[in-house]
Subunit: 131 residues, 2 copies
DNA sequence: TTAACATTTGAATAATTGTTCATATATAGT
DNA sequence: ACTATATATGAACAATTATTCAAATGTTAA
């Protein structure tokens, strides 16, 4: 028999409450543990999707998908958002290496930086429209 | 000439501040406007990525990718999170139709619901690892 | 009917984040 | 120098959200 609280949460960063059944599908757990990518990779993957998971940034990416490049002003016009808001979001896309930029006088032109971006958007798009 | 404030923000939900150059690349703007999917579709797309853009949910999806199905308890064990936290996230994945479930007695088994999910994760994974 | 257990759910909390506003920087023209 | 314009940036605010906790379901077995 299990003592009271044996599988109960004791400390913030220690054991967590978990089911008390004897057979917690050990085979399944083992298989998952062996085949799942490491934490760091999964976090990076989640971060990538997190960046695409915003309406404004999604619109920016899709706009840049249609043309070679756009300046902040163009994006501001198309998305009907202040240049400041656009600039903030572009910074995030820049930091994630999803877009690159080119400066010409006062104007900064942004464009997609990655071939994968289009693929990811396309697959997601299929999911939305077909499903 | 433009009057002062002609292109400046006047009201909260009216015009927004936008660049005052004459040539705001009209051709580019037009092309983008014509070829970009409608707002509703883009929002749904962003929502999809938003759901995948969370560490816990990403781990759940990747775990389910390795095996046929897992119960809340299994996921709780593998992810080292309380069943409650897992359940909350599973609800979100359920509502997005990304996972389905099957009840067997007290135990609820979850599995991936969509073929696209794997594709999306794979493309994202390539981006992370190759890039 | 009890007791035990897997899961769900609602409320509360803490953390994250998108937008706005004001301001700063950089560049071009006068 | 000065002015105008395009963009960037920092702080503040509002909104969203992931997790925890406590409590509620729903199920099985005694």
């Amino acid at each position: 028999m299990l003592k009271d609280g044996d599988n109960m949460k004791k400390d913030k960063n220690d054991v967590i409450e978990v089911c008390q059944t004897i057979e917690i599908h050990e085979d399944i757990i083992k298989k998952v543990r062996e085949n799942t990518p490491d934490e760091n990779t999964l976090n990076k993957l989640a971060d990538l999707f997190k960046i695409m998971g915003d309406n404004t940034r999604m619109k920016i990416l899709y706009a840049l998908l249609q043309v070679d490049e756009m300046c902040v002003c163009d994006l501001s016009t198309v998305l009907k958002k202040t240049p400041s808001a656009i600039s903030h979001q572009l910074r995030i896309l820049r930091q994630a290496d999803l877009v690159k930029y080119r400066k010409e006088g006062k104007v900064v032109y942004y464009s997609l930086n990655d071939e994968h971006v289009k693929e990811i958007l396309d697959v997601g798009f299929s999911h939305i429209t077909e499903g």
